[in-house]
């Protein structure tokens, strides 16, 4: 199941990745091989089968809507490359 380089470029853009030149060729080939392998699933008759999203039959637990967290912004922001006065700094979005 081969995909085109343009397909790969589009998929990459959806996941905020970017490939060019030889790298684009290599990834196109490798992803095509992987898709070829997963094609095996197409031959299975699953008309009457329910999808299994999760290994255990669980429901989302809910709890009382009470505040349990403490604001630790300064501690959490220590890992940010660029922050100031509690804000994360990014390249300009709007002109």
């Amino acid at each position: 199941m081969s995909i085109k380089k343009t397909d790969l470029e589009y998929i990459a853009s959806l996941s905020k990745l970017q490939f060019e030149g030889q790298e684009l060729k290599n990834y196109t080939r490798q992803i095509s091989d992987i898709l070829e392998m997963i094609q095996q699933l197409q031959k299975v008759d699953t008309k009457k089968i329910k999808p299994m999203a999760h290994p255990m039959n669980m429901n989302q637990r809910i709890r009382e809507d009470l505040v349990t967290e403490v604001n630790k912004r300064d501690e959490y922001q220590k890992n940010a490359v660029d922050s100031e006065d509690g804000f994360y700094k990014v390249p300009k979005v709007l002109d």
Partner: protein, 480 residues
């Protein structure tokens, strides 16, 4: 282990720190050591012991795969993307064992974001198998496995999403346990595939595993997939009689991909279990061969979603690109250079199978095949108490042998993946050697029957010596 007071915790820590300093350059199993903090905890452990204040794991040093958040200790996930990330909190499993007195000595090397079966995708370099330095220790918990196998640490925590504890345990001759999905908390465990990931243990024996699992496992309100079930005393049940237990041998596990000599070792292991009173019968898991394609739709799909958080803004690698003043470029360059090749392959595969027009054909179809695989196991467990088979198709392979061919690498996981898809607990323990390389046998049980896995393995290990074999690093093949 530490029960008798013949040696102090500080002496034990110093011994392990010394061994790591002497030998880890050969295998590259640790990314970060926290020796000073560990020695201080050991000093406190000795004081506690003197005043009679002893907890179940007091003074026991352990290593953690670098996928678990450890407060104040760098947690890289084997990736450039998190190479400078210092978590502000502990993962629950880490907190659990810390509270019982265990001492974290360091963070072990791993395949990047747990994606790999050979520990070759790590940003911090490959790990070498201590039994043969030219071979991989398996992955993705390769560092944890190699460190325990070489005696650099008595026990390590790892994760298993498609076999990443069991396969390296088999390749390095140690015991590796993947508990039931939901048995151990995933809070603070850096997510790869959320419906498959599970924390587990790599150790030298079922007994050590049982001691640690009792403290590590348990319900966690911070993990929405954590199961509210009491943790039994695995230690107390280790020596329960196993006469009359019935273990199934799936014919699909013994396919043409399985090395013939390895098959003989598995049959030898079966004979040992027979001598312990276990009965065997042939069973079938007809959809087993579909477990690899099913996994390689579901896991990449979940990973593409989980790794979307790495945007270089709040944490993680940010590409410093002069002249660019565009947020989109920032995302593209940070992610392109922050992630390694295998991670990018899986993100792309996952994005593709979830994309409009393909979701039904791939992702939904894979979830339905997952249901079929689950039904195979349910049916099998009506007749048998457990399932046995090889952990891997071959012994450890050479570094570089498979890294350029992703599909060949993926086939490594053929025997382990199905238990992740269905959430079943499974163990791999050593059962012999082929040309000096260890071999593992795998046992799978129904959900929450970890006590049976540990019980069976313990009695096997009382009768055999494979788990006591240790590589002699001075004689290990290390042709340069």
């Amino acid at each position: 282990m530490l029960g008798e007071e013949k040696i102090s915790s500080q002496e034990i820590l110093k011994t392990y720190i010394q061994r790591i300093a002497e030998h880890d350059t050969l295998i590259n199993s640790f990314i970060t050591l926290d020796a000073d903090a560990a020695l201080e905890k050991a000093r406190q452990a000795d004081q506690s012991r003197q005043s009679g204040d002893v907890l179940p794991l007091t003074g026991i040093p352990f290593a953690s795969k670098d996928i678990f958040c450890t407060k104040g200790v760098k947690t890289t996930c084997g990736s450039k993307m998190l190479s400078n990330f210092v978590p502000p909190y502990d993962a629950t499993v880490i907190a659990n064992v810390n509270e019982q007195g265990a001492i974290l000595l360091g963070k072990t090397n791993m395949d990047e974001f747990a994606m790999g079966s050979s520990n070759e995708t790590s940003y911090f370099g490959p790990v070498n198998n201590p039994w043969d330095l030219e071979r991989t220790p398996g992955g993705s918990s390769g560092g944890s496995a190699a460190a325990v196998a070489l005696g650099l640490i008595p026990i390590a925590i790892g994760t298993d999403t498609g076999g990443s504890i069991r396969q390296p345990a088999a390749f390095t001759g140690i015991t590796g346990l993947k508990p039931t999905y939901g048995r151990c908390s995933r809070y603070g465990m850096i997510a790869f595939a959320s419906s498959l990931d599970q924390a587990g243990i790599l150790a030298l024996s079922a007994e050590d595993t049982a001691i640690f699992l009792e403290m590590m496992a348990g319900f966690d309100p911070l993990d929405s997939t954590s199961v509210e079930m009491d943790v039994p005393s695995y230690v107390e049940q280790l020596s329960d009689p196993i006469n009359g237990k019935v273990i199934g041998i799936p014919k699909e596990f013994f396919d043409e991909g399985l090395d013939a000599e390895l098959e003989n070792k598995i049959l030898d292991a079966i004979k040992i279990y027979e001598s312990l009173g276990v009965k065997f019968k042939e069973i079938s898991l007809p959809h087993l061969e579909l477990s690899v394609p099913t996994y390689y739709v579901i896991a990449p799909a979940e990973c593409s979603s989980n790794l979307a958080r790495y945007d270089g803004i709040r944490f993680g690698y940010r590409h410093q690109d002069n002249g660019r003043n565009n947020l989109d470029d920032h995302y593209l360059t940070s992610r392109q250079s922050g992630f390694g090749a295998e991670v990018k392959r899986r993100i792309i595969t996952g994005t593709y199978v979830l994309s409009a027009g393909y979701y039904d054909a791939y992702y939904l179809q894979a979830q339905k095949v997952r249901q079929l695989i689950s039904q195979d196991f349910k049916r099998a467990f009506l007749d048998v108490d457990a399932i046995i088979g090889p952990t891997t198709q071959t012994p450890a392979f050479k570094i570089g042998e498979k890294i350029d061919d992703p599909v060949t690498m993926y086939m490594n996981d053929i025997y382990t993946i199905s238990s992740n898809l269905v959430g079943l607990p499974a163990i791999s323990h050593p059962c012999g050697f082929i040309d000096g390389l260890p071999i593992g046998v795998q046992i799978i049980t129904p959900h929450f029957a970890e006590c049976d896995l540990l019980n069976l393995t313990h009695l096997y290990q009382q009768k055999t010596d494979w788990h006591n074999q240790q590589p002699d690093i001075n004689n290990t093949n290390d042709d340069n």
